[in-house]
Symmetry: C2
Subunit: 216 residues, 2 copies
């Protein structure tokens, strides 16, 4: 490796890179669920940003002397399974998935970025999702609920399935990647620190849900 690099950092860049690659693939497919070409283009554009971020992460891994494919490989089963289990069956499910999933992911990345040194810290902060995309998704969800209040219940249930599946796959990764978990544990300090991190993530998630009229 051309720079000395902790295995946990390689793991982190690897899981982010594969998450982006797969998010691209799934969002591109979900765009077909859009009711018109304008909305389809919007989700397609969100997907395109994911692949741009993938390219930056893969480039950083190469710079560190790490083959991006090797770095991503350990995370293929968990991320693949998450998406298999949460395949949206209509446009609103697709948007809710993007809104909830990207929001949670961004919060998590922000927490993790604080543990990293330059330039990885800036890179991870840079691959956060653009707020105009979550605003678009939020607006679509709000209008759908305004038009038919029963939608709120259906999408709330769907959001719970998304977070449940995400948590389950995160546990799977945690059980498998001791170094990555070691990095997080070392940084948050202790059990209380970990609980505090978890609480921040769930508080923000709940706020996001409430903001569009969904309940946790």
């Amino acid at each position: 490796m051309s720079e000395s690099v902790a295995p946990a950092v390689v793991d982190l860049l690897g899981v982010l890179a594969y998450a982006e690659l797969l998010a691209f693939d799934r969002m591109a497919a979900d765009a077909r669920l859009a009711p018109d070409l304008r909305r389809r283009a919007m989700l397609s554009e969100m997907a395109a940003r994911e692949i741009d971020n993938y390219c930056r992460l893969a480039e950083r891994l190469r710079q560190l002397g790490v083959d991006p494919e090797a770095a991503m490989q350990p995370f293929v089963p968990a991320l693949h399974e998450y998406h298999e289990q949460t395949d949206p069956k209509d446009w609103l499910e697709a948007l809710t998935k993007a809104y909830v999933g990207d929001g949670l992911a961004d919060d998590f990345y922000r927490e993790i970025a604080a543990f990293l040194r330059s330039p990885d810290r800036e890179l991870v902060l840079d691959v956060l999702h653009e707020s105009r995309f979550s605003e678009f998704a939020a607006e679509e969800i709000r209008s759908a609920i305004a038009a038919d209040p029963r939608v709120a219940n259906r999408l709330s249930m769907w959001a719970r399935r998304l977070t449940g599946e995400a948590l389950s796959q995160a546990q799977r990764v945690a059980a498998d990647r001791a170094e990555l978990i070691g990095l997080i544990a070392a940084e948050v300090g202790d059990q209380a620190g970990l609980m505090a991190l978890f609480k921040r993530l769930t508080t923000d998630h709940t706020a996001r849900m409430t903001a569009v009229g969904l309940n946790n």
Copy 2:
């Protein structure tokens, strides 16, 4: 409309925009055929550039006071049908489709750009495909033929199907969009000019095929 704009120009930007939107969708799906994550990322990145180009074309249409969706609508059936009829069944078919289709499309855009005024001329020239993508596709096709010469025959047949289907759908559009064809006819001058344009396109296509070991 905020600028005076010929219907043929709206047609042209509309067909390009929808071609990009659909190319994104199809390439993103085709990326799943890739044998490894590196190759998959490369085709995904090609797809992402298509959606970026879509955004620029849609933005220009809006600037001209035209709803992008309305401008694209007339071309939905022909472009959809082209892709339905040429759905690649493996990685090499997907790459050949990108290589042959993008090459032909770029040649055609370059010809058309010459007929346009600024800023549409520069915009159309700007949405041409990056050469690194066609080089990547060409290299993949060449290596596959080197590894198994029978591949050349299969992909040559596939390329003929692609061009045949493209021509058939182009004729469908031509029959339907008098103004677009009027623009091209007025610019090339006469029947001889049209034949010369067609000859340039086929000559370049043949050269591209030969360059990767395929025959026309």
